[in-house]
Symmetry: C2
Amino acid sequence: MTVQPPEPTVPPAEPVKVALLGCGTVGTQVVRLLRLDSGEIAERVGAPVELVGIAVRSLDADRGPGVPAELLTTDAHSLVRAADVVVELIGGTTTARDLVLEAIGGGAGVVTANKALLATHGPQLYAAADAAGVDLLYEAAVAGAVPVVRGVRESLAGDRVARVLGIVNGTTNYILDEMTNGGYDFDVALKEAQELGYAEADPTADVEGHDAAAKAAILASLAFHTRVSLDDVDCEGITGVTAGDIASARDAGGVIKLLAIAERIEDTRGEAVAVRVHPVILPVDHPLAGVRGAYNAVVVEAEAAGRLMFYGAGAGGAPTASAVLGDLVAAARHRGQGGRAPAESAYAELPIAGPERVTSRRQVRLAVDDRPGVLAHLATTFADHGVSIETVRQQPGTGEAATLAIVTHDAPEAALRATVEALRETVGVRELLSDYRVERA
Amino acid sequence: MTVQPPEPTVPPAEPVKVALLGCGTVGTQVVRLLRLDSGEIAERVGAPVELVGIAVRSLDADRGPGVPAELLTTDAHSLVRAADVVVELIGGTTTARDLVLEAIGGGAGVVTANKALLATHGPQLYAAADAAGVDLLYEAAVAGAVPVVRGVRESLAGDRVARVLGIVNGTTNYILDEMTNGGYDFDVALKEAQELGYAEADPTADVEGHDAAAKAAILASLAFHTRVSLDDVDCEGITGVTAGDIASARDAGGVIKLLAIAERIEDTRGEAVAVRVHPVILPVDHPLAGVRGAYNAVVVEAEAAGRLMFYGAGAGGAPTASAVLGDLVAAARHRGQGGRAPAESAYAELPIAGPERVTSRRQVRLAVDDRPGVLAHLATTFADHGVSIETVRQQPGTGEAATLAIVTHDAPEAALRATVEALRETVGVRELLSDYRVERA
């Protein structure tokens, strides 16, 4: 390779011009951090960083403390054209997409915290940034301040990711925590979370798992170099989780968490990527089991590195702004140096596997007749579907019914689903109480 | 800023030439990973990566499986001169320093896993790399595969680190775990760790905290942009930790861990950096409390991001090689693009604070006479030194003696040390059993 070593860094006299699109909670914190540490940021970028404008919908709207009125503009397009780096914090998927494409087309680096944008238009945006040779950085779009995007993209750049599993939605983690610690039912815990501001008035996007699914799509695209969009994610929320499920998990040394899981599958049909969001029983000594309240954490399992975990605040103005600033410094630095972060190439182009190709362990809880012979019937049903049983645990029952919690070994999803259906018809089974995936410690 | 956007990336025909210095456990894994994923690595670098040679001490020595004999050479200097990126895995601080300086002088990027080298000659090497405008990357030198170096340097580049605290030595964490779970004394747990290969025949560097101190110096330099060397670290190991100390911590809901702690201090004497390694009592719900066996984890507390944690395998050939590869891909990519990672500038130049400027909470355990009035004497001793007491817990004693565990509020180290000395002379005190720093959850 004949490239000469670059000249020693001399900070250019010209500042890097930064445009901020949107100035809500996160934007206000970005402005604050840029001003607070401007000297340190200039050191790290190799040039001063100048905030040249803040695009807002209306000049009359309330602005956060410390946001200078003279930088506000309603002309986002002109602002984007004048910038070296554009920070997109307006949310939504239409105007945001247009402005990001305009920035990329003009040669500016882009930093975004917009998970919906990436989960919907990610492939188009990554391809545009790749073709233009500019940065498109989005640490803040997944799990707030938790630096998992950089970890997967850069730290594991010479490794092979097998699986990513994470707690990426603080609202549901808070609700499950409350249910676990207080013994509450879902409705009660949700109401409390709403009163405390941890859940929105319409909690659908969180509790049905859609927010986690968007983040799962982004993480899967990144980890497996494959186009994954929101529609590819098999998604189940936490509205069906009961206080009884949680108590039963605890009795067996586990906790229930809502996980986003993206994994590389290798089966007889070849290599593929499966992405899903659903509640999982974790043993208490799993690194994700201890993640409390509104914290987020992502475990990445790689071939050589083994299991890594990234943990931190999953939301909030200041933590999200910290992640934005990290990306902003990188993009500004690259803009000055001519370098950039590795592109989000979808070169692997793996097919998306349906849930039927996933292998997992299951815990099935059943209310059964409390009489001899029932377990034999159940065991036969499992065996008939080629699913082997790891443990059977009898829980205190009432009257003539007993409760059995049966955990399987790893088995194909299709066999597990068929087993569960057959169990409903098995002699002695009164009711299927619950059906959860179970992770190992 | 007038820099034009870079041209779209076209992988150059010329490969990036990589020289490997040393080929032990980690080097063998680096060779394996480079060959296993050469296509993916080329995608991420933007050019093929070619291993041009492996410097070894003797061509006759055993080499790892898969290491090609034709790449071996004993002429490290010629190899370094021919390389675009040099991976230093020979260890030690003299030859390694000379070769790294030679590589930097020749314009090559450098990747090293050598903590002793950085803790001893870090400032000289960072300055040389900075002046030459080349990468000096060392993720693998701190906590194996745990991507904390990149996290602090890049993810938090726009934030302000207040404190770094980590479990960065797997041997001591394994020993403390065994003591905790098995109730063993230190000597017994050490012997077991040695038999299982978790501790070396001469365990001094691990159990006295020197290994952790080297990593603490590196993390402190990075987090606070200040020259910190091994001699600046206030270091205490785990040889004084007893089974009784651990049992007492557990009774109070805590575990004892050996932590490396680097923090920014702001007091009447101004701003400074304090770096120390010592055993600490952590409440069980602290994120570091659950880190088991040979795993490592580092918590970074930043002004905006709040508390982040990075967790993973702290040692081992494959995990360390994964970290080396991540850095290698970055350095190779930068070599092709003309960019590079942010320099390790020591621009903050903060003074190093002695331990007397640190503030902490303490748990002091005392054997005292089991009679009225003793607690009043003790309380007076604390009050005389301006140290306030948070909790007092009486533990089951024997005969006429009782055991008291007293936890203080935050207090200056000097006051705490004076208190402890005075406690030895306080009426009713039979013995000072232990004295630990205590962290909050």
